[in-house]
């Protein structure tokens, strides 16, 4: 199909204009607002005690959620790629479920399960606080990030096949040796990609965490909760912009790492 120069140019203008108005302009405005009083002021607002504690809490949640997702995510991916069992299609569908659930619904569902009067509410009455405590925020973040590692690792497992694993087993390697020496090195890039996606989503999760957090500044606020409470409750617009810009920079780092990993993976695939 040969389009006239005029059609090509107008399609290009429409696409670029849409992206400019929807993405670039708003992000430009907030960056300008964050730094219009100089870098010092920005720095001051992201290093207040509440901001530092929010950053620490966000990182703590990431530090708990990532290993959980790696261990169980790889296990689920192995079961889906290698196992033959009844109900596999159901397990497949269950893994994708979190993508279809609203973050607020995740929070409410967790409260109905773990909260006072919930199915597992008994744990709360033993004095172990889940909802409105750290375990609740970890559960919420794990829920929304659960598919990433599974969905990145499973196709790689299919792609590499089972020949090498079977050869290792025939030569007398134990299941663990086979996993550590054959399977894990083969899936490392897919796994890393899944971990980066998990980290990005865990740092950025808002709705689900909001529902299960007590939301006290300096105690139970993550970075995302800090942004909204500064803007909504304190009417501290500048502080909110600064915290949002910090989160945006973290997202940007994740984006760059993701495209680098994607390039590495493509190169590895081409080498094979």
């Amino acid at each position: 199909m040969n389009l006239s120069k005029k059609t090509v140019l107008s399609l290009r203008s429409v696409a670029l204009l849409y992206l400019l108005v929807l993405l670039v302009l708003p992000i430009g405005v907030i960056l300008y607002r964050s730094f219009e009083r100089g870098f010092g002021e920005f720095w001051a607002w992201i290093t207040t005690p509440a901001a530092i504690s929010a950053l620490q809490l966000s990182l703590l949640i990431v530090a708990i959620v990532v290993p959980l997702n790696v261990i169980f995510g790889v296990l689920v991916a192995l079961a889906l790629a290698r196992g033959k069992f009844r109900g596999k299609a159901a397990l497949q569908a269950a893994v994708d479920l979190p993508f279809a659930v609203s973050p607020v619904v995740v929070g409410v569902a967790l409260i109905m399960l773990w909260g006072v009067g919930g199915w597992f509410g008994g744990i709360e009455s033993l004095g172990f606080r889940i909802i409105f405590g750290l375990p609740g925020m970890v559960l919420a973040t794990t829920f929304v990030t659960l598919p990433f590692v599974v969905r990145e690792v499973e196709p790689v497992l299919h792609e590499i096949g089972q020949d090498q694993e079977q050869a290792a087993a025939t030569l007398g390697a134990s299941a663990w040796q086979t996993f550590w020496r054959i399977t894990l090195p083969a899936i490392r890039w897919g796994l890393t990609y899944g971990v980066v996606l998990t980290i990005a989503r865990a740092l950025g999760e808002y709705g689900a965490v909001l529902m299960v957090s007590s939301n006290f500044p300096g105690i139970s606020q993550t970075l995302t909760l800090l942004v909204s409470s500064r803007n909504h409750d304190d009417y501290n617009t500048f502080g909110a912009y600064a915290a949002a810009t910090l989160l945006m920079l973290l997202a940007l780092v994740a984006l760059v790492v993701m495209s680098l990993l994607e390039a590495t993976r493509r190169r590895n695939r081409d080498d094979d």
Binding site: L19, V24, R33, L75, A100, L146, S228
Partner: protein, 263 residues
Amino acid sequence: MRRLINPLRIGVAWLWISLIVLLPIAAITTKAFDHGWSGFWDALTAKNAVSTLVITVWVSLLVTVINVVMGTIIAWVLVRDDFPGKGVVNALIDLPFALPTIVASIVLLSLYGPDSPVGLTLNATQPAIVIALAFVTLPFVVRQVQPVLIELDREVEEAAASLGAPNRVIVAKIIIPTLLPAILSGAGLAFTRAIGEFGSVVLVGGNIPGETQVASQYIQQQLEVDNQVAASAVSVALLAIAFVLLGVMRFVGSRSAKREENE
């Protein structure tokens, strides 16, 4: 590898998914029916529940249509057009996925809020919700259509052109039919995301019942006034819409895959 996948490990996989995902969903569904079917129905047909669901679905449909048109155009420009800086534009598409939703919300507030630098104050109106949802759902259609356009056989188009088919016919008879499954699946993903969206709407939406309150905000509000059955019932309604849509997409997807195999 048999030994790594013994029944015990499959059991652990199920236990993990159940504990994290399935049990909470089961608990909220049971809660929605705490007062039986009639209690569920009453909660869903309460005046504000109906209006919030209508607003949510209507706004999400509008955003889906915008995505279908703009997403396809953007994908086309990224694949077929060439201009300096295309790589940057391509990377930009993923930004809404990487950006935390609350940041998206505050970013839009800084542009369309009370002290808008362009003099366009839209916060607490439905257009603001449409913009917020369009922001977070931007990548879906683009990223579904792009790979299909790259794979699309240009020889067929050239053959049609050399046989004298005008562009309008080539678009209608060759390009659109090939892209349609990808466009529809992108649209389905965007719609599912839109009806459940919360973070990006929170700061710009206004949360006005009957006007700009979306379903997730209504659910949060009902939980705050300790009306757990109402919160759960609307949650279950959202879940049901998403599941039906994704189920249909899966069914249609597997059928068209089978048809391709048969051809």
